[in-house]
């Protein structure tokens, strides 16, 4: 592309096109539900158009979650395309000499890297999305946790891992509990300490995760430069997206095999579980105090039930073994009986044979005597 070409990314034409797109979607929406009007003027009309479409996804049916995922990624792609268009506009405005566009690329990327610290960019949002959904699957969303995180966000410097306020709070929370409600007080003190532990561990993981995001951007810059050297080019927005995904996966995979990852990941999970367990203990105490079975009690029942099932299984096996053995005994007894009968028959036959043979001998002797006398 010549430097003299107009490059109207993120200009009226771009916006106009988005608006046309929104209008098409709105027309379609109106056909499906008469009287539909967009609630407000959209910031990114393409994304807004998908928001409208979202309302028509059926709430039931097997495809619903996948349709939602596809729409979410569609929105993410549109948002990223907007970002890319701005980025291309800036690049295009500079002279095409190698140094100039590379310097501009570098400075644009530095800005995105900074945005990782605040989460204020579509690339940063893309980077954080898997982590967010992963945390949500672990149940990292109790109300108290959200409000604590909000408090941390608002409290100046609390997001710093080295902030002395943590030590100060820990000291205060270590004050021995006194009086009638001592146990409850201890439980709550412990819970607050664990909440702080989790916040720190989570922050530690986020920091490492964002650093890897920045490394992914470094890789992206390096790959683009390499492509330039090789005379290769990227021809589509999707091509840029795919290149970014490659860089993100490479950087993440490298991180995932480090000792640091193992440590921060383990610490984050363990501190969250400790916190959830403490939370459950508080609820259990409340349940017990009003005479309702606690989760611990339910757990004990389940454990005992399984132990009994194992014992029953063992007894059934022994019974089967003993039934097999008794069957074997019966068979042996039957065989013995048969053997005895056979023996009896054999000895009877022997007796008969002996008696027959004796009679024959006597007859022979008698016949011999007769002959001699004759």
């Amino acid at each position: 592309m010549s430097k003299n070409d107009t490059f109207p990314f993120w200009t009226d034409e771009w916006m106009k096109s988005q608006q046309e797109y929104l209008d098409t979607w709105t027309d379609l929406s109106e056909k499906m539900t008469s009287g539909f009007q967009p609630a407000k003027k959209p910031i990114n009309p393409w994304v807004e158009a998908l928001d409208q479409w979202e309302t028509f996804i059926p709430n039931t049916g097997e495809s619903q979650p996948y349709a939602q995922r596809m729409l979410d990624q569609g929105k993410a792609f549109f948002e990223m395309s907007d970002g890319i268009s701005k980025f291309l506009k800036v690049l295009n405005e500079v002279n095409e000499s190698k140094e100039q566009w590379q310097n501009t690329l570098q400075s644009q990327m530095e800005a995105i890297k900074k945005a990782f610290e605040t989460g204020d960019s579509s690339l940063a949002a893309f980077w954080d999305e898997p982590l967010d959904s992963w945390k949500s699957s672990l149940g990292d969303s109790p109300i108290e946790l959200q409000s604590f995180m909000k408090f941390v966000d608002q409290a100046q410097g609390m997001d710093s891992l080295t902030n002395p306020i943590y030590d100060e709070m820990n000291k205060k929370l270590s004050t021995p509990a006194l009086g009638q409600n001592r146990e409850a007080q201890e439980q709550h003190q412990k819970y607050t300490c664990l909440l702080m532990d989790y916040q720190r561990a989570s922050q530690e993981y986020n920091t490492a995760h964002h650093r890897v995001g920045q490394e992914a951007i470094e890789r992206l810059i390096a790959k683009i430069s390499e492509m330039s050297k090789q005379g290769e080019s990227i021809d589509t927005m999707r091509g840029i997206y795919d290149l970014w995904v490659d860089c993100a996966e490479e950087a993440y995979a490298e991180f995932a095999f480090t000792d640091e990852y193992q440590t921060v990941y383990g610490r984050m999970i363990n501190s969250l579980m400790a916190l959830k367990q403490a939370s459950r203990n508080i609820v259990d105490s409340a349940m017990t105090s009003i005479g309702l079975p606690s989760s611990k009690a339910f757990d004990t029942v389940l454990q005992r039930m399984q132990e009994m099932r194992r014992e029953i299984r063992q007894l059934q096996r022994e019974k089967k073994k003993s039934a097999d053995l008794s069957e074997l005994h019966n068979e042996i007894a039957e065989l013995r009986k048969e053997l005895a009968a056979v023996k009896k028959s054999v000895s009877a036959i022997n007796r008969v044979e002996k008696s027959v043979s004796k009679k024959t001998v006597t007859k022979k002797k008698a016949a011999a005597t007769k002959t001699t006398k004759g």
Partner: protein
């Protein structure tokens, strides 16, 4: 050279085309309805708690007299082995003259929280083996273990060699500490006792996100952009959706068994040290003296090739056959290549040893 060859026109065209495809895809998705899975006819011949033992209707007149029992992983659902006509390991085995049984573990719930590996191996699996042998009138059967089910099959065969004629393991982890085992690396510092004591059973959602986190940007993002291109017609949409359904159809994991598996296998790598304890029994792979066919996938990102290949070094048999499949962890069951390669090879290998 300036590396971006994107003009405003081409960018707008691309975005609009993407938007149109997305719209068409949404239309296809909302019209799909229920996503059918399963290709082969079967009857349930035994059930115990949530487990069912399925016997598949033979497709040849005189199938192998020694039946083959498929032991699937506790993770995900076993219909991966019989996803649809033409993409089914079971269908392939039936066509190649095998008499096929499969254990479907069902969906454990809170009542199954304390099911241990001993309950699975010496309880459920052993009962199924006895049942299959009784029905077939044989003393021994063939076992085909899938992934974690392969590891359970190794444990079972080590303890009950007299009931197993031949053993086939597919994408089965044996050495859990190979350098490229990301899952193992991930869980090494997690306090599994605390985790299970806290949450009880491990939810299917947690399992899913753990697997997705191995390639988070491809599996959470890029895949769904690719999906837009796959929804043009109903058949390709259904193929994609069947896989999606399977991936996210994740049963919860019984807490006790999960704890024992992660701790003994993934964290302490005890299987190759002959130190795994299942109930009161020690697992020694040297006890496995029956013929073993070990199938692994070259591009497996869940169970690396080295993790499976290690079996050769530790198993006791003199009749060991390795087989590398040129594909991934799932492709080994559902790809077109797999249909041509895996069932005939398994059948031939079994025939040579029957």
């Amino acid at each position: 050279m300036f590396p971006f060859n994107i003009t405003p026109d081409s960018a707008l065209k691309e975005i609009q085309e993407f938007g149109n495809k997305l719209g068409e895809g949404m239309q296809t998705l909302t019209e799909l309805g229920e996503i059918p899975v399963g290709a082969s006819e079967f009857e349930v011949v035994y059930h115990e708690d949530k487990l069912t033992l399925n016997h598949y209707k033979p497709l040849v007149k005189n199938p192998n007299k020694t039946p083959i029992l498929i032991i699937y992983a506790l993770v995900n659902r076993p219909y991966m082995t019989d996803l649809q006509k033409g993409r089914s390991l079971i269908e392939g085995l039936l066509k190649n003259g095998q008499d096929v049984y499969l254990i479907d573990w069902g969906y454990p719930d809170a009542a199954d929280r304390y099911l241990s590996l001993d309950d699975y191996i010496n309880g459920y699996i052993d009962n199924c083996v006895d049942n299959v042998c009784d029905r077939a009138g044989v003393d021994k059967l063939n076992i085909l273990g899938v992934c974690q089910g392969g590891t359970l099959s190794l444990c079972y065969t080590s303890l009950h060699t007299h009931k197993v004629n031949n053993l086939i393991t597919t994408v089965t982890p044996v050495d859990f500490h190979t350098k490229d085992d990301q899952l193992s690396h991930m869980v090494r510092n997690v306090d599994i006792d605390l985790l299970v004591d806290t949450v009880g059973n491990i939810s299917g959602d947690m399992m899913n996100t753990t697997f997705l986190s191995l390639k988070p940007f491809r599996l959470n993002g890029q895949k769904y952009l690719d999906m837009v291109n796959l929804l043009g017609d109903e058949d390709s949409a259904l193929n994609f959706m069947r896989m999606e359904k399977w991936i996210f159809d994740s049963p919860d994991q019984a807490g006790q068994a999960y704890k024992e598996f992660i701790s003994q296998f993934y964290q302490q790598n005890k299987l190759i040290k002959s130190e795994v304890m299942v109930g009161e029994h020690r697992i020694d792979l040297k006890n496995i003296t029956v013929p073993v066919l070990n199938i692994f996938a070259k591009d497996d990102h869940l169970v690396p090739v080295a993790a499976s290949k290690a079996l050769e070094k530790y198993v006791g048999t003199d009749d060991y056959t390795p087989l590398e499949f040129p594909g991934g962890h799932i492709g080994i069951f559902v790809s077109g290549k797999a249909q041509k390669m895996i069932p005939p090879t398994v059948a031939e290998w079994l025939t040579e040893r029957s």
